[in-house]
Symmetry: C3
């Protein structure tokens, strides 16, 4: 397995500056539970979110947006059709799209759907260890949305997956590992309190999509997304009395880092 | 173009008192992203929100509720049918309904749908400058949910729209302009931080619907809704460290103004 | 009518300890408006939420989860089919499922659906007074999601309902009454501010489902869920300046009581 290189705030700084200049418009086809938090996360960073869900409109909009997020958390037959239409439109316009394979491996419909999506050239895939393992192994079974594996255990799977489908793969946990199949960057940080708030991983995937829209090295862009969110999570956890106050602190931290960068 | 008259907290005060006495029940057929924030905004003000989405039930409920909100942010074929059934029931019972034409002009399905709705006697329409322009001009194209125009630029379009469909039209931005086609009220205030939180405009539209339920001059009632939300937004922005802490401060400010009025 | 016995923090303490050991995985088929708040409530308490909504996957997942929540707030035909599939799977695996009959009585589709569900052996039912009355009487009519009756008035209906369908019935309000048809526990507390935040009742129903997963006396387990949420609500209301700041305080209070128990 390849050795991982640390990727820190110093490394992400130029990407945050670039992000600030581009303020990507991100089309989010995500799950019912996290839409508001995902939108607020992107807005706090200075990006523009939009959720357009009807199949025909989703395709129209993906051709306008700078990036597309596909999150299968509350997948339905209807939504899966909108997702395919949006991906096709994004690919036709060479806009990057990112897959968040929530709970893949544990449930049949989404597992088949996610494996189908791997052949449609995702720019990046962001998941926990169980999810990344499930995308490469037939045997992995998750416990719903929680990871049963450490991110370390999925490093090899991430590398294999990146090589086979050409995407940047981010397997997130205590340490986030980001790989293009050749190099592997390790982003430390975050805080366990982030697992007590719904949608932190889903929101990170939206930020990954936004960073994929930048005209920059994509491996480092994805690692920058992880680093920015991880650091905001750490700051918010330090300031919060629990998961309730974590949420406003987290969005404020993203907003402040974005404004700091803008100076 | 008609001259605009300032509309301030002093003007909205009697409407807020009336609101407090009536505590309107508002049926919200709104988008997936903002439902919770919309409900919390109405509750903070002392109104009662309800989201009833199945077509038959939506029609039943619109005949019970005091006002109906139609927001097309995440429009689907199915939801559009529920909306039409709800509007028909509201009109039959002479209950006011309000249109929030999110991202109209940028996407075909919702653009056709919103234009169809203009003939169904909305009591009010609340949108940003791009949206109000798109409802009157064939050429306007938005960038998703963000406005590319200042609210000032859409003043003339608002006036034309109000005259053609008989609704009060509120075009909101740095200054909110509210017109019935004859008079135009200007509501100052708000704060740019409101654009970094998802759903502030959508929530305002729900408040507009609630104020339309009052037995009072509708032009001033709609301007009062804009004034109350704008002032709560300003107070919250002054107290907040960013968009995360803005949210609780905003709801608290609405709650406090409502309680102050009740004394 | 049976006499009610007080049920306090002292009584719920051993159940909270047990909860901490089991960290139930709760499958929530709930309404569109409250999904995020419901998930965050369960996470703050140390439980794991999951929302899996496609009918086939919902059935698969209910066989994995420790408990199932059915909330009809934004019921649709499609969602009702997923709910029936999930209930069938939960019953086949002897996993408890809980009904939150939002606005039952006021609207025909959900009223017929909820009455159908009563024959499918719910472990518990949690509603306000109007909802519990509507499940037992043909004449009751609610005003949407708000209760027109005090919880006291519905005590007899709760008892009748518990006896007829074999569920623990919790009718919540100023005082929460929890009955198995033979005994009735009374949980004091909470705060009126909780009615100014959307989804506090819905989130309580999810917590009730989680407590039903414990290997313990179910009457007391459901009363414990009510007691824990009620106490967190009281603490949050004492600390909050309004319904906006109530939300983070409420989640933090649940998190802190859970951590206190874990020591």
């Amino acid at each position: 397995m390849i050795h991982s290189e640390p990727f820190t705030a110093r490394d992400s700084a130029p990407f945050l500056t670039l992000f600030q200049q581009h303020t990507p418009l991100v089309h989010c086809l995500t799950n019912e539970v996290v839409q508001s938090f995902t939108a607020n996360t992107l807005l706090a960073l200075g990006a523009s979110p939009a959720m357009v869900v009807e199949a025909e409109e989703a395709a129209e909009f993906s051709a306008i947006a700078n990036a597309l997020l596909i999150n299968v958390g509350t997948l339905t037959q209807t939504r899966s059709e909108a997702m395919l239409a949006a991906i096709e439109a994004a690919n036709a316009q060479q806009r990057p799209w990112v897959l968040d394979p929530v709970a893949v491996g544990a449930l049949r419909f989404r597992t088949a759907f996610c494996r189908e999506l791997l052949s449609l050239s995702p720019a990046a895939i962001r998941g926990n260890a169980s999810e990344i393992l499930a995308l490469t192994q037939a045997s992995a079974v998750g416990r719903g949305v929680d990871s049963l594996h450490s991110s370390d255990a999925a490093r090899e799977a991430a590398q294999t997956l990146a090589q086979s489908c050409g995407a940047i793969v981010a397997v997130t946990g205590e340490v986030d590992y980001v790989t293009d199949g050749q190099r592997m960057l390790a982003v430390p940080g975050g805080d366990p309190l982030m697992t007590r708030v719904v949608g932190t991983g889903c929101a990170l995937s939206a930020v990954v999509a936004a960073f994929c829209a930048l005209p920059a090295d994509r491996l480092q862009a994805v690692a920058s997304a992880c680093q920015v969110v991880s650091e905001a999570g750490k700051r918010a956890a330090d300031a919060a009395a629990g998961p309730g106050s974590f949420i406003p602190h987290f969005l404020d931290a993203l907003y402040q880092c974005q404004r700091q960068e803008a100076k």
